[in-house]
């Protein structure tokens, strides 16, 4: 049984620092700045208490935990129930939120709790065990968990690895072995270079659950809205008119029903722009009461939402609030598009939902689609050609006996027999035919901007298709040719209107160059490279660093050359060879314990070392037995080198 020893204060600080660094690796989730306060407020009081009570084995851990929790409660201004809820739920809420998540107590609290647990557990390991580096294992566990949330790369990975190496060095050695730090830097740089691939994250399949998973499709509500055209739905206030207000994106089609795909997340502090050359716009939306269902008017690339606790589909822009909302402020991104270059753009098959199916399509519709675009290869021009074909050959019906339905039977009848249909049939037929041609398209239901004023009414309800254009994102089209484009608009609809006017006939069109093949990345087959690298680099680095650390330690002792260092060197060598040399043992005890392992000459060398230590340390006389002691060290080293190669190999990887 080992006797507890009181470690140096620097070792305890290093354990806390390592745990804090591990906690800050959750930076991609919350932002490093948002984590500094809760982590610091938890760690500093706990560290102070640990340093104060480090010799009180029975109270140390409990007191540190209480001090850390108190600091956390003060920093978050949260009550204990929030902390308790955080223990069970916050880790999941963080996964269900867009990142950076808002640092609300019920979401962020699991990070400082993890740091506190890792630090306190690590300190106990440091003070109770003989292998000091084991104290970093709890912090390393936090690192692994943080990487399962978001893999670190580049500078953050380098800084974290260097900090970890420095903490390990402080814990192990009395100084900082710069060789170990250098090894940490090299490993971190290598990690930063190779970890740029797709990473597995626990959030990949973790979405916010809906209390009402089945709601009526807005697509089915369109006829009823158009039957009551004057009812106001919402009004908005913005610096410029807004042409479209998407409500929901329906990108899943099985031949019968159009349903939304993807998943919803809690809205964090904001979403980054997903388009090139973005500009920011905002509008204040005030609901007027007739919008059924949980969806809120949104935009394709929302940035922030204030005033409502909303769920968002980051890939589609859909906003949703189960509690409803009276008003909110929406900020969104819009791409800046050059009208000259838009025509030559290629389609973007890599966007989410681009490869959604169409069910079992009738052959007649397939032939019709190819005929509409003159068998041109898929491109944005092809999409515009298909739009033009529908505008020229089909009639929009808005009054009278309206045809209903948007499954394949109704669409086939609309396209091949009736050739007159509603807006949703136009949009659904366009999306289905575009997909048959290989053009990524989706069906969006929402509202058009009002003719005048800012109140959006039922008459503005609209369904339209969107196609994915490389470098621009989703571009809304109008196969009916009836949508209005505000004269004040200077955004994408206006640019698109200009592009249509320059569209040549199918006979004059030249197929654009082939786009580069998109990587066929299926989420289920992604390899968790970052996690695998961490799991590989850490043990490999450990195995490489150990002999280095051992060599540095041995060199420092030889340079010092004292008898005490000679004994320490022999002690550690025996330990590496499996001899259980405890701190309660003297040199002679170690020699006795080593008898099953060493040969007689080595045992004699140990006896010689014992005499040298006794004469130097305890005789009180000025005896210089350093040469004798280090001669014994060499003899012991030679004796251990005569052991079987398996035993020497095992010893090489022990500290």
């Amino acid at each position: 049984m080992s006797m507890p020893t009181v470690a140096r204060g620097s070792g305890l600080v290093a354990v806390y620092l390592a745990a804090s660094v591990a906690g800050l690796l959750f930076g991609p989730v919350f932002g490093v700045g948002a984590l500094l306060l809760p982590v610091g407020a938890t760690v500093l009081p706990a560290l102070a208490v640990t340093l104060w009570l480090r010799s009180r084995e029975a109270w140390r851990a409990m007191a540190a935990v209480f001090a850390g929790l108190a600091g956390l409660l003060v920093a978050l201004r949260a009550d204990p129930s929030a902390v308790f809820a955080g223990v069970t739920d916050s880790w999941r809420l963080a996964l269900q939120t867009t990142w950076p998540a808002r640092p609300e107590p019920e979401v962020v609290v699991f990070v400082p709790l993890l740091v506190l647990a890792a630090a306190v557990f690590g300190v106990e390991l440091l003070l109770r065990l003989r292998a000091p580096l084991v104290s970093l294992l709890p912090a390393l566990g936090v690192v692994v968990l943080s990487q399962a949330y978001a893999a670190a790369g580049g500078v953050s990975a380098i800084l974290a690895a260097v900090a970890f190496a420095a903490c390990g060095a402080v814990i192990v050695a009395r100084g900082i072995p710069w060789a170990a730090v250098a090894l940490g830097v090299v490993g971190a740089v290598a990690l930063g270079v190779v970890s740029s691939g797709p990473a597995l994250s626990l959030r990949t399949d973790e979405f916010a659950p809906l209390a009402t998973p089945r709601v009526a499709s807005p697509l089915d509500e369109l006829p009823s809205r158009l039957a009551d055209p004057s009812t106001p739905v919402f009004e908005y206030t913005s610096s410029a008119p807004v042409d479209r207000w998407p409500i929901v994106v329906l990108d899943e089609f099985d031949g019968v029903n159009w349903t939304p795909g993807g998943g919803l997340r809690r809205m964090g502090t904001g979403l980054p722009p997903a388009v090139e050359s973005p500009t920011s716009r905002s509008a204040e939306v005030r609901m007027l009461g007739s919008l059924d269902g949980p969806w809120l008017p949104s935009q394709t690339w929302p940035a922030t939402v204030e005033g409502v606790d909303a769920l968002v589909d980051p890939a589609r822009g859909t906003l949703l609030s189960e509690a409803g909302a009276s008003s909110y402020t929406l900020t969104w991104w819009e791409p800046q598009v050059d009208p000259v270059s838009l025509m030559g753009k290629a389609i973007d098959p890599s966007v989410p939902g681009a490869k959604a199916g169409v069910g079992t399509a009738p052959a007649s519709v397939h032939d019709l689609a190819e005929k509409a675009v003159g068998r041109m290869r898929s491109s944005f021009r092809t999409a515009l050609l298909l739009e033009k074909y529908m505008r020229d050959n089909y009639e929009l019906v808005t009054t009278g006996d309206l045809p209903v339905g948007h499954g394949w039977p109704q669409l086939e009848r609309f396209l091949t027999v009736e050739k007159r249909g509603t807006r949703e049939q136009f949009a659904a037929a366009y999306v289905a035919m575009a997909r048959l041609l290989g053009i990524p398209a989706r069906l969006v239901v929402g509202f058009a901007g009002p003719d005048s004023g800012s109140v959006v009414r039922n008459r503005d309800a609209l369904a339209w298709p969107e196609v994915a254009v490389e470098g621009v994102g989703w571009v809304a089209l109008d196969p009916t040719g009836s949508a209005r484009v505000s004269s004040a608009s200077n955004g994408l609809p206006r640019v698109l209107e200009d592009t249509r006017s320059d569209l040549p006939s199918p006979d004059e069109m030249v197929p654009p160059e082939l786009p580069p093949a998109a990587p066929d990345v299926a989420p289920a087959r992604r390899v968790p490279w970052a996690l695998a690298l961490w799991l590989l680099v850490v043990p490999v680095g450990w195995l490489l660093a150990l002999p280095l650390l051992v060599g540095v330690r041995s060199w420092r002792r030889r340079r010092s050359g004292t008898v005490a260092d000679a004994w320490a060197e022999v002690r550690d060598r025996l330990r590496r060879h499996g001899v259980a040399v405890t701190s309660a043992m003297t040199v002679r005890d170690a020699a006795t314990a080593a008898r099953p392992v060493v040969d007689p000459p080595t045992a004699d060398a140990l006896s010689g070392l014992a005499m040298a230590v006794d004469a130097t340390m305890w005789s009180g006389a000025p005896v210089d037995a350093r040469a004798q002691a280090w001669s014994a060290v060499r003899a012991v080293r030679s004796g251990l080198a005569r052991r079987p190669w398996k035993a020497r190999l095992r010893a090489a990887f022990r500290y």
Binding site: M1, T582, S583, A584, M585, T586, A610, D614, S619
Partner: protein, 316 residues
């Protein structure tokens, strides 16, 4: 380089004793070490293992006076310490010294004496003087009590209380000899070599000089601290109700000094402290009732303590 006087004294006495006490060099070593440390020795074991022989050999090897007191239930304190008797011819009270007035006192089967008699002996052991009728009488210097007791026969015995056990520097157990040693014992008996055949091999001035030399041997502060930590650790052990007292710490150091002298050293090492810990500390520990029910032995506790207390220079 000549060996220290104390080492020469040890070798002379040990060689002489081992002419009779065969096959037990370590027991003889500790017994002589107790003599050099001027501490009292309690030899405890079952009958027939040579306790009394060892004590008699020790006494015979030293050139001073020695007495044997056979403890029985009817032994009176005055028989041990001495009495004052009125002398009719001189019309004065005269002090008649008891058995303790010798350099080496063999207190045989000390647990058969009554507690009152035991107390009289143990008081002398501690004070090294006898006070009768308000007059103090010094016992000779050096003064060594070698007591024996039988731990298995409880009928008609009075177990020594812990407070009085504390006065003994060491408690030794002779133990059964191995086969070869027992053959030697039988051959010695056949050759009629007994304690009475031994001649003194060291005179009193030489022994006193050796004792003085042992008391002056060097002990580093770290060793003193180690001894104190070992003694203190017995007080914190879960199986111990009452651990070693500070007198135990002092005894550890003194016994270690003497043991170092038996190896030709005039300085103490941590190994010396470890070597004397069991004979010095085990009889000073009072175990908890649970530990006794579980048949734990004080020697086991001492071994556990030695296995946990960090040795000097070994931290890390």
């Amino acid at each position: 380089m000549t060996a220290p006087k104390s080492t020469l004294a040890y070798q002379a006495i040990a060689d002489n004793v081992q002419r009779v006490v065969r096959g037990k060099p370590e027991v003889v070593r500790y017994a002589v070490a107790a003599l050099l440390a001027e501490g009292h020795l309690l030899v405890e074991d079952v009958p027939g293992l040579g306790k009394t022989t060892l004590a008699r050999c020790l006494a015979r090897s030293v050139g001073g006076t020695w007495n044997r007191i056979q403890f029985t239930p009817d032994l009176l304190p005055g028989d041990v310490t001495g009495v004052t008797v009125y002398h009719q011819k001189t019309e004065q009270f005269e002090f008649h010294p008891g058995g303790v007035f010798a350099n080496v006192v063999l207190a045989d089967e000390v647990n058969r004496g009554t507690p009152k008699t035991q107390s009289a002996l143990l008081e002398v052991m501690s004070e090294r003087r006898v006070t009768v009728d308000s007059v103090a009488h010094e016992v000779p210097h050096p003064f060594l009590v070698v007591a024996t007791q039988n731990p298995i026969e409880m009928e008609g015995t009075y177990r020594l209380p812990e407070a009085q056990l504390d006065r003994f520097l060491m408690r030794l157990s002779v133990g059964y000899p191995d086969l070869a040693a027992e053959v030697l014992v039988v051959m010695s008996d056949a050759a009629r070599v007994g304690p009475d055949d031994l001649e003194p091999v060291i005179d009193m001035p030489t022994l006193r000089a050796a004792i003085t030399e042992v008391r002056g041997s060097h002990i580093a502060p770290a060793i003193c601290e180690y001894a104190v930590r070992v003694a203190a650790a017995t007080r914190e052990h879960a199986a111990v109700r009452w651990g070693a007292s500070p007198r135990g710490s002092i005894a550890l150091v003194r016994a270690a000094q003497a043991l170092a002298a038996t190896e030709g050293r005039l300085f103490v090492t941590p190994d010396d402290i470890k070597a004397v810990a069991e004979p010095v500390l085990s009889h000073r520990l009072v175990l908890t009732p649970d530990a006794e029910l579980n048949q734990r032995r004080p020697a086991e506790v001492v071994a556990e303590v030695l296995g946990t207390v960090t040795a000097p220079l070994a931290a890390g």
